[in-house]
């Protein structure tokens, strides 16, 4: 079989070619439809990817407030977790102070802490004001009820400067004690011309510059009323509260 025969054979092989029904416009339309379908498919894919990425990354970026479900805190220990928000820290310390006070003074009832970042507004929660540079990190009251009636302790946690002389000015007793961790505790009692202690205060200064002040008055400092003969919580208990190793102040 020669090459010429193969050539002729191939030409003869297509003799029964069926009629060609080919329309270039139909073909172009089909291609354009395919292109638009592919574009739509890509758009859906990209959108799905964006949603998937967002759903994974957004929960990590959103602030975890304790009121939200994401920020729901079920921990019971009071040690400070890393990068804890001020709100959570205030709440944690308030709860712990109330718990410890109840353990130390079993005659007290309805003990609970209420703290907020910055300066505590008087009366509590009646207004809200923006935090200013000199304001404490957080402050608030530990509310309690004893045999006389409801009253409160004032608590301030701050990094502003502390002056011992100013603090002890007018005090009948002012005593300073260094703790094992290097912090310094200053206790003071004020009689204000009476025979009973009218004001008891304890300040613990940490080496980091943070200082914690717990004050007990012969009246209710949260509302300025409820005058009584002496303070509801003595300075010794205040010192125990401020030096409690179970409370991570820093």
């Amino acid at each position: 079989m020669s090459e010429q025969e193969i050539r002729e054979g191939m030409l003869l092989a297509v003799w029964d070619e069926p009629p060609l029904d080919f329309d270039p416009d139909t073909l172009i339309r089909r291609v354009e439809q395919k292109k638009s379908r592919r574009r739509a498919l890509v758009a859906v894919g990209v959108a799905t990817a964006v949603i998937a990425v967002a759903s994974f990354s957004l929960p990590g970026l959103l602030p975890r407030d304790r009121d939200t479900q994401l920020g729901a805190d079920t921990r019971t220990n009071s040690s400070a977790p890393p990068s804890e928000s001020v709100e959570k820290k205030a709440q944690r310390i308030g709860d712990k102070l109330a718990e410890n006070l109840g353990v130390r003074m079993t005659n007290l009832k309805e003990i609970y802490g209420s703290f907020r970042p910055g300066q505590f507004i008087f009366p509590p929660y009646s207004t809200s004001a923006p935090q200013r540079p000199g304001d404490p990190e957080f402050s608030g009251y530990v509310y309690l009820t004893d045999g006389i009636g409801p009253t409160a302790l004032r608590v301030t946690v701050s990094k502003t400067s502390f002056n011992k002389n100013t603090f002890c000015s007018g005090a009948s007793m002012c005593m300073e004690t260094r703790q094992q961790d290097g912090s310094v505790v200053t206790e003071a009692e004020f009689f204000h011309g009476t025979t009973a202690v009218q004001q008891a205060e304890v300040v613990r200064r940490f080496e980091s510059g943070l200082f914690v002040q717990i004050s007990s008055y012969a009246y209710n400092p949260s509302n300025g009323s409820g005058q009584r003969e002496t303070v509801p919580v003595q300075v010794g208990v205040l010192t125990q509260l401020v030096t409690d190793p179970g409370i991570a102040w820093e």
Binding site: E3, M10, L11, I28, V31
Partner: protein
């Protein structure tokens, strides 16, 4: 795509669709598959038209696309070839010359039986060399191989085809020239 480019493609497709389908038929041995291959090739060319419209030899490029499309199609694992289990009865056409018809039928047999038994790349070389009448250099471009490979594939393809045709002729009683 701009209207002018689209019109250019439309003219190219209309002018070469039949020729491409015939080549595709000799590749695959089936007119329906040949039409699919031709349309797929033209669709690929339409998508790339902006880039290829200024090529010197567009029909050579089209043949290359057609060959690639057919080879790709053959490689697909899910591709199912038609399984023929019988012959359709051929009705006699009294208007045609019996000698001519006999030659044509033999030629069709050549394609359906002999050429389809040649391995695909060798078959493609034979079709491009002897049906399209392309020089070795152009076949090499279409195949994406060297001219030496085209020559060796042609020689092997011819040998395979001659062996098969001789077998066919001896079984049918026809004398091979």
């Amino acid at each position: 795509m701009r209207k002018a480019d689209e019109q250019g493609f439309r003219e190219f497709a209309a002018a070469n669709a039949a020729s491409l389908r015939r080549t595709a038929y000799l590749f695959c041995g089936d007119w329906h598959t040949a039409e699919d291959l031709m349309q797929s090739s033209l669709m690929k060319m339409y998508l790339a038209w902006k880039r290829i419209k200024d090529l010197d030899n567009l029909i050579a490029y089209a043949r290359k696309v057609l060959l690639r499309t057919w080879l790709d199609e053959k490689r697909r694992p899910w591709r199912r070839a038609e399984q023929r289990d019988g012959e359709l009865p051929d009705a006699a056409d009294a208007t045609v010359d019996p000698d001519t018809t006999s030659a044509k039928l033999w030629a069709r047999e050549l394609v359906h039986t002999a050429l389809l038994q040649v391995p695909p790349r060798q078959r493609a070389v034979l079709v491009l060399r002897y049906f399209e009448d392309l020089p070795v250099a152009e076949v090499a471009v279409a195949m994406g191989c060297s001219e030496g490979t085209v020559k060796s594939q042609t020689a092997r393809g011819l040998a395979t085809l001659r062996t098969i045709v001789e077998k066919l002729d001896s079984s049918s009683g026809r004398v091979a020239s």
